[in-house]
Amino acid sequence: MTGPLSSLDRPVSYIGKSVPRPNAKRLLAGRGRYVDDVRLPRLAHAAFLRCPYAHARLASLDVAAAVRAPGVIRVVTAKDLAGRYTPWVGTLTHFKGMKSAPQHPLVVERATWQGEPVVAVVAESRALAEDAVAQIDVAWEELPPLTDMHAALEPGAAPLHAELGDNLCFTRTIDAGAVDAAFAAADCVVEESYSFARHTGVCLEPRSILADFDSAAGSLTVHYSSQAPHMMKEIFARHFRLPESAVRVVCNDVGGSYGIKIHVYPDEMATVAIALLLGRPVKFIADRLESFVSDIHAREHRITARMALAKDGTIAALAIDDVTGIGPYSTYPRTSVVEGNQVIGLAGSSYRCRNYRAQLRVAFQTKPPTTQYRAVGHPIATAVTEALIDRAAGALGLDPAELRRHNLIPDDAYPWTTASGLKFEKLSQQAALEKLLALMDYDGLRREQAALRQRGVHRGIGLACFVELTNPGPAFYGVGGAPISSQDGCTIRLDPGGSVTCATGVTEQGQGTETMVAQIVASTLGLALNQVRVVTGDTERTPYGGGTWASRGCGIGGEAALQGALALKANILALAGAMLQAEPVALDLAGGWVVDRVGGNRRIGLDEVGRAAYFRGDTLPPGVQPELVATRHYMPRQYPFAFTNGVQACYLELDVETGFIKLLKHWVVEDCGRVVNPLLVEEQIRGGVVQGIGGALFEECIYDDRGQLLNGTLADYLVPMAGEMPDIMVEHVETPTAESMLGAKGAGEAGTGGAPAAVMNAVNDALAPFKVRITAQPISPRRVLAALGKA
């Protein structure tokens, strides 16, 4: 390479390096600061009475005994909060025809899921608050539950919310190309029905909020376990009619979120309302049972899908019909229809096929609301598409890898617009597939599988190609009226000693956001990593931004950091040029020094620049005003979303006597654009894969016909644990987006998006000798035995 290096591949750069997270040391020492660790003077604790029925009318409520209970500060019902907030409705205008009913912090008259908060007791301790909750005398008139989403959509089904007319929250159809003609002319048509259970996020740190209202100052400070502090500031101001300037949201350490902690929850809104009412800090930490019945749930789809193919394996058409149940309300402010919308938007989108028809129907029901959870819609779209491909490979006698190879959008065909209208700038699906097949030794595994089958050992290999939507622009939410920022900012300040303090709108929940930002800033400014301090998660101290979700932290927050650092660098060099009587363009930054751009001779230390600017302005030439702080914002404009791609493979062994599945190994090749920190990216992928495996094999919120949750503890709701999980090999293809200088696309959800498909395909591959298939997740031992006729 000749000429000066670009800002990304400078001689001493952290970009692309596996740098450990400096902020993880606190967490390893037990010095994390989660919401429940915050102790304030006059702190009061809230506990909630929740509705024990899926659907019931509040017949009578007597809180007198609770009011008299020891340690009780206040008992709060819907009546006490009336007029103190604006109800919220989870609709967005760009989802044409969608509808939902207004939501309230506490049940006003009728509860629509088991777990809906009804009365809040505020006491000196959580234990005393719970004692008093038990003293509340409440009578319910049980109403018919509406648990099955198909039944909810039946003509004549009683509407859950009479004013909405029926139980259809939203519907959308796509009809592209000539689907009927393609099916009529096809050599091979495969059709299958799939079901995906309702599961939930199970954050180790439950939802947590501490709302503190200082009535003297008129200011509300909310210590919050959240992914989107600025959004919540906007919402608290809007719905409690406070000046925007009076609200501060602070997110310190967040103990897992995965999309759970980005929605408006009634009990959290109630906590804020009570803090405003009492003028003192009020804390609410959901316990585990409360988490199971009041955190958002996810998935719950039933899908029928058909694929038409030619003899040579060319996919001629795809048609899918998705019915999904979202509970009684669409969540606010993101709505609950994005999951289903992404299922029908993404199905089949890895492949060249131009004939595509899809129908989505989103139904209300009396279970907790479902909505965005890690990899929104992707696991479903991918599982359905990839299962059909394997089914077709079996029908046509073709190898599943070969069938994918034959149909993938060619790597040289971009830009590409899918049949559903998604615009892909540049993907690397063919390269990723070939890399994966080599990494796993696909042919060798097939031989091993065949040999073991002879001995009665049933192993399966499952492949799954996927694309992942990341870095959404304003068309995703903002255009529909949601206070959700698609842009993020980064402010960087040179301090007098030559280090920098950097504040960013993207947030940290353990992904390594702060480290990623520090790497980019340090590399650009020629600093050591420990000279960069990164501040996140505080609306009073960070530039406005959307936070961390939709795998946007690096792609959007990283680019803002890069542009901010370049702007600060220009300011530093302008000042140094004035001090040194040199042209700024002849200077550069390296190793904490201003150096000659050519030759790299050290001219003046950054500490000296800082000192001159802040303490010895008298030494500067006349007219020179140092500006050693710079802010830049970034928002993708060219494409509505970035898209990443990848492919996963699962290898497992199935015990046909017990139905138990042993995961042997898992492989991922993904392309998240520029990899800023392989160590962090790979752990995002691995964690995501295991979350996907959870949905595929273990996790289900089991409800009975009356809408009662049957497994509301971690002893009953199965999550992936270390003993059952495989080692996961991860490799990359790097196709940076040309839209930003950094070129990062995002990596947070790829693992979860692809894993359920790979696992389900591997199970069915293992079952192939028995001529049975499983198309319902989670794939429990009971389902395996049932498929084998042994249950």
């Binding site: 020891p70 691995r686 295991v690």
Partner: protein, 160 residues
């Protein structure tokens, strides 16, 4: 319910005397009475391991034990074991390998891994997975944690 019982125990090397309600569990005692917030509660059923602490040298689930049971006991938490350096190799390996994301499970993971390495200084990969199989982590997918424990075992073997 509001009656209290006097207990005297050693927590992280310091003698502590408190009057506690019989229903107060160890996690709440550590967090609310002593300000030791490094120990977390999460599942409240003994299933997730986030509340793991050491009592009289053995790891226990802090959510399944009451403070009144600990009169005369010796309790060690992430705070004390960090200060003593007992977990140093594990903490360094977890850090280098990025075996911690949100950090909520981490104290429990470290204490459980330490218990494994004290009884089996050179565990196989499957042994590590089995030993950690009652500690829930939603973020990492466990692979990095297993790597880190194996690395810490190698480093501990170099201890004089």
């Amino acid at each position: 319910m509001r009656e209290t019982v006097a207990i005297r125990l050693t927590v992280n090397g310091t003698t502590v005397e408190r009057d506690v309600q019989p229903r107060l569990n160890l996690v709440d005692f550590l967090r609310d009475e002593l300000g030791l917030t490094g120990t977390h509660w999460s599942c409240e059923h003994g299933a997730c391991g986030a509340c793991t602490v050491r009592v009289d040298g053995e790891i226990v689930r802090g959510c399944l034990i009451f403070a009144v049971q600990l009169d005369g006991a010796t309790v060690e938490t992430i705070e004390g074991l960090t200060e003593s350096g007992a977990l140093a190799e594990l903490q360094a390996a977890f850090h280098a390998r990025n075996a911690v994301q949100c950090g909520f499970c981490t104290a429990g993971m470290l204490l459980t891994a330490d218990a494994l390495l004290r009884r089996d200084p050179d565990p196989r990969r499957e042994t590590i997975r089995a030993a950690l199989s009652a500690n829930y982590c939603r973020c990492t997918g466990y692979h990095a944690i297993v790597d880190a424990v194996a690395e810490a075992a190698r480093e501990r073997a170099k201890r004089p």
